[in-house]
Amino acid sequence: MAVERFPVEASHILMFARSIGDPNPIYEDEAQAAETEPGRIIAPPTFAQASAQFDPDYRLRPQIGEPWFGSGKEPTGVTRQSTGGSGGGNGGSLHAEQHFQYHRHISPGDVLTATVVPGETWEKQSKRAGKLIFRETVTEYRDQHGELVITARGVGVQTEKPVEN
């Protein structure tokens, strides 16, 4: 995932904070945010992940005019082979780890870019999900001045079968 332009906007931060159930006024009220230590609205710690909204090729968002692997008349809109392994079990992919390093906290008005470097890949055998293939990526978020603001490290896991619960 590479994002050329991720404009950080107040309404997006508001919606994101609501979705994670965080009522902290620093995420939604400019006047109250002005009284806090940062002195302005900032984004919640995991907000950078919402850069997916600005990735033109993000595979977990339906694209206009393209087949989508979620259900409609049928349980899936595409055949298994063409899902690109994005469907969870049976060789699908889940999120295993996520780390953020904050060089500074982002605010409305920031315009970020995100560049992704693949990291390590490793395998593990699991009783609950068969063979697991882990893939690491490192995403660097830079602001409109080219300054590094957030370094994110994500690990995805491809499972051989759905995770047993």
Binding site: M15, P44, P75, E97
Partner: protein, 140 residues
């Protein structure tokens, strides 16, 4: 209010109920806000019949986001320098999640006071769903 290192001790803990009886609608809300529309989180038919799970389950990042509230409420706005988690078990609609953070170290780096925390979020059966660590700047 920012924390002062002088008022903190290794072993201090803080807990918070993050959500009671997690609703499917919140998964839809998170999908819309985050942009992660993976049907595993919103589309029960797909998730049961194609992916092979009993039903939709929460985005790991939703649990990480909810857990972050405990941290930022404790350490203060804009004070986190690091936050990382592993997703160790799935979170399902109906789950009640409680997060607990514990101070594991107080240290100084280049004159900056830092607090290291461990964090774990468990479900109603006390099964961990997210485990992780965080670091925050604190006052002297």
């Amino acid at each position: 209010m920012a924390l002062s290192a002088a008022d903190l001790s290794v072993g201090d803990t803080r807990s918070m109920v993050l959500v009671e009886d997690l609703k499917r609608t919140q998964l839809v809300q998170y999908a819309g806000a985050s942009g992660d529309y993976n049907p595993l989180h919103t589309d029960d038919l797909y998730t049961r019949e194609v992916a092979g799970y009993p039903g939709v389950f929460a985005h790991g990042m939703l649990t990480m986001g909810m857990t972050g509230r405990l941290l930022t409420d404790w350490v203060g706005d804009g004070r986190l320098t690091d936050y990382g988690v592993r997703f160790v078990n799935q979170v399902w609609p109906g789950d009640t999640l409680t997060a607990t953070a514990e101070i594991t170290a107080l240290r100084e780096e280049d004159g900056v006071h830092l607090v290291d925390l461990s964090v774990v979020t468990v479900n109603q059966d006390d099964i961990p769903v997210v485990t992780g660590t965080a670091t925050a700047r604190v006052d002297a």
